[in-house]
């Protein structure tokens, strides 16, 4: 087992929200969480739970209403504005203003805290940019313009920019939003690689529970009133995940750590056959309102033959055979 790293970021009795002269809106109070080096931390919670607010407060884009934030053991307030960008980098969901900018120029801007008043790149700066491009797999696309690459590649560019900024803590607001499944997985495994190989501490918010529960070392779960942290499996075991996300339509399986739709009252159906079609058939039958019950009068058998999979539907003495699951579903007896 990997030893827990040095604490990079921690909050103590933090209150986040928006304060103005007249009144303050507290989004959430008593937040005490931490994240260590070499850790991938996924911040999850339902829409409007305050995920972005927490992340923006962590990187000092908005002030905390109360409580403390410590980065590297130093109070956030005591870190100057020239020092802070060397400690923490932030990737927001804000669209890039100039989409004609090249990938390399965009990543080079990550060196902003280190360059002189006019932004001259030294050899060391250029090297850092090259490394960042290489680590994110963007080196071959470095000359392309941001509006000529895919959404996933654009997100990689932003991660490279964060890497070029050379901070130990990387905070990202929904880096996998709007991405398809393979790109989403690609981004999260890249983040994971950065924590393992570079010892970075990455905190990212996401709605993609599946990947978060599978890949993150630590989950920060924002659940209406409070924040709960722990390894994904700890939160599953304690039933925290189920409590936070279950709804009349959604049930959580603690055994597999996945969500599924809640089905209404079910009819019984007897099911026999060979894997892997067996479990898929059960899934399809479930969608049609059937639960497996070997004593039922309606029986389905699935077998593989010379022409591929075949399904046999038997009801009393009547027997019919189908070559696709779709046909079987169409011919299932109704109420």
């Amino acid at each position: 087992m990997k030893k827990r790293g040095i604490v990079i970021a921690e909050t103590e009795e933090l209150t986040i929200g928006y304060a103005s002269r007249r009144r303050s809106i507290r989004v959430m109070e008593h937040l005490s969480v931490s994240a260590g080096s070499g850790e991938l931390v996924a911040l999850i919670g339902r829409n409007g739970a305050g995920k972005s607010t927490l992340l923006r407060t962590l990187v000092s884009l908005q002030p905390a209403v109360g409580g403390k934030i410590r980065l590297h053991g130093r109070d956030l307030h005591s870190i100057g504005s020239t020092m802070l960008p060397r400690i923490v980098s932030f990737t927001s969901t804000e669209p890039v203003a100039e989409r004609n900018i090249s990938v390399r120029d965009a990543v080079s801007l990550g060196r902003f805290p280190y360059t002189n008043w006019i932004g001259t790149m030294t050899d060391a700066d250029r090297e850092a940019v090259d490394h960042a491009l290489e680590d994110t797999g963007m080196l071959t696309l470095a000359g392309r313009r941001l509006d000529n690459i895919s959404d996933g590649e654009r997100q990689r560019t932003l991660i490279a920019r964060s890497l070029a900024q050379d901070t130990e803590l990387l905070v990202m607001d929904e880096p996998t939003a709007f991405l398809d499944l393979p790109s989403r997985y690609g981004i999260v495994s890249l983040l994971r690689k950065l924590t393992r190989e570079k010892g970075k501490c990455v905190i990212y918010s996401t709605h993609d529970l599946d990947t978060a529960l599978n890949e993150a070392d630590r989950i920060w779960l924002m659940d209406g009133e409070c924040i709960i942290e722990g390894a994904p499996e700890d939160l599953i075991l304690s039933g925290t995940i189920a409590r936070a996300f279950e709804s009349p339509l959604l049930s959580f399986s603690s055994k597999e750590g996945t969500f599924s739709f809640v089905r209404g009252r079910r009819k019984g159906i007897a099911l026999k056959g060979d894997a892997p079609a067996l479990s898929l058939t059960e899934k399809a039958l479930g969608r049609c309102g059937y639960a497996v019950d070997q004593q039922a009068s309606v029986r389905v058998k699935v077998q593989t033959g010379p022409e591929g999979w075949r399904w046999t539907l038997a009801e009393g003495s009547e027997t019919r055979s189908f070559s696709t699951l779709y046909e079987l579903m169409v011919h299932l007896p109704e109420e």
Partner: protein, 346 residues
Amino acid sequence: MRERLPSLKLPLAMTGLFLVTLLLFCADILFGGTPLEAGDVVRALFGEGTPESKIIVMEFRLPRALTAVIAGAALSVSGLLMQTLFRNPLAGPDVLGISSGAGLGVALTVLTLSPLFAITADSPLQGWGMILAAWAGAGMVMVIIMAVSSRMRDIMTVLIVGLMLASAISAVVSLLQYFSNETMLRTYVIWTMGNLGNISWQQLRALTIAALAGMILAFVMVKPLNAMLMGETFSRTVGVRMRSTRLMLLAAASILAGSVTAFCGPLAFIGVAVPHMARLLFRTTDHRTLMPGTALFGAAILLVSDLISTAPGGGQIIPVNTVTSLIGIPVVLWIILGKNATAGRR
């Protein structure tokens, strides 16, 4: 792509552009409304030749060409600053009503204050008075636009507000015209046509100082300008102080656009179009290259416009404003159509 080749390509493009601008500058002195032999022009530049040619060259053509260089550079850089500041490719002194604001300042001085205090066109007081009034007008509109664009993310909303402001201002100016006397009215109407030649050495000095100040202020801001290409949130997280940066950029853009507009009248579409031409030529978004590039390109374009405007000869002159519009409008249309074409493909 300027990938891996900047060491060679960039200086080449910059030198080329510089030489072209220099050539145009010489051409602008050699050719003008009244025909003069090239030899006479050169002699006049060195203080020799006929008194007539000396007056034409030293009092008209040289200040005119210098004005074109300064005004072209200043307006274009002002446009570049505004495009980055407002995250809007269509931003520019005239499009957002900044020129109108400067015009209001000028109208107020020319139409109301000057007759009141009996200030003549040649007095230095009018030089700086007009500049200050134009700055104030330009700055006022800029602050309004800034306030709107901080609330409205939508580019079109900001542009429409700019258009409305320009209309409102022109209505106010019409009202002023109604109450002013004929001589002042004529001065003002001639000013609105845009004129590079109506500038005295004294006024040219004021314009140069103001434009230089604006340019220096702009160039000091190249690093934050580059960060702003990635968006405001990013800029803030790498340590850009947005409030003061915005204020500095607003000041620089107002000084540049306001000073030029005060003396040369509204020169349409230079500020919007030239930064895009420079981006196309240098193929970069880096302000360290774009800013000098845009300045040179703007000088070149205004010199060309001036050459065209004096081309008919025999004392006939096409208003510069007309020429710059004819050059700038196709570029602006190309931007709008190009942007929409890409949006449609998505």
